[in-house]
Amino acid sequence: MVLVLSISLKVRPTKMELIRLRRRLVTSIRVRRILSERLTILVNEFMAMLKEALVKRRVIQNQMLDVYRSAEVLLGIYGSNVSRYLMASTSKPEIYIATENIMGVRVKTIITKYPDVPHPVGLEEFSRISRDLVSTILDLARLEQSLHELGKEIAITKRKSNALEYIIIPRLRETIKYLQLKFDEREREEKSRFKRIKQILTRRTMYE
């Protein structure tokens, strides 16, 4: 016989099934706890990154102002040839696009390596602050992309955690409860049957 219940699962009312359901309930509770902890970590990472991204945006604005000011000074000193001089004297950086793994969320990152050569003469300050600006912009890009990916992962994890908390675990609990009631009822029936049999047997022996 198979029981079909609206709020509980479709199970056979056997002791074996009850043991299996209990085991499944324990696993579900553990998985839910793990998922909720993962969710907390992901949300916290998301919030921390959000704050960092806002700070970086402000830093970029200040750095851009510094770069513009420095560029104006250089233009005043060297004239329009400064960009050609800069292009010719600055060595190109090595740029690598790689992945970071934050709690199972893959995020793209950019690694920039500048060769160990001295800055062009007279342009040290400008070179230094423009490198800083580029590195901050790359950091901001990484942060914003991470925020996007983390947001998606948070939504998925939240859905799984809620499904366990509000659907699967209550259903398992309900089914276990139902099976226990079923077994109790069976036991009571068995007892009364035995009593009845005993009565009949006693009566039979009396007549004999």
Binding site: K10, T27, I34, N44, A98, G104
Partner: protein
């Protein structure tokens, strides 16, 4: 239904730690690599931030026995409590967070968040599901 549920639960426990590296690499090896990376359990590459490696090299005096990423383990029995079991890692983390050095080093969630902010790529969280 029940089989699907069992598969889902088993799979969740399997993928929850997919970001843990297959094999950890020492700090010295990572500092010598052009692109410092490790391979995670799901087969993807996890690249370390060179700035973080330099910071760790400075704090640990280039200790080659330091294996990275540092593993922070979540204890399922105690909510919001994490532990670092390795004495070298515990010492470094304690000096970064400016807390008392001890092994194993127990951390609260706030500590972990602060640590993750500083060591974003060189630390990772292991979610231990406990005895099943």
């Amino acid at each position: 239904m029940s089989d699907v549920l069992d598969v889902f639960l088993r799979e969740e426990l399997r993928i929850v730690n997919k970001h843990i590296p297959r094999k950890r690499v020492s700090l010295c090896e990572l500092l010598e690599m052009k692109i410092p990376y490790v391979t995670t359990h799901d087969g993807t590459l996890h690249v370390f931030d060179p700035r973080e490696l330099e910071l760790l090299a400075k704090i640990s005096n280039r200790d080659c026995s330091l294996m990275l990423p540092m593993i922070i383990e979540y204890i399922p029995e105690k909510e919001g409590i994490y532990v670092i079991k390795n004495p070298i890692e515990a010492g470094i983390v304690a000096s970064i967070l400016k807390i008392e050095k001890q092994t194993p080093l127990f951390l609260h969630r706030a500590h972990v968040l602060e640590l993750r902010r500083i060591l974003r790529t060189t630390s990772t969280i292991l979610l231990n599901p406990g005895q099943l």
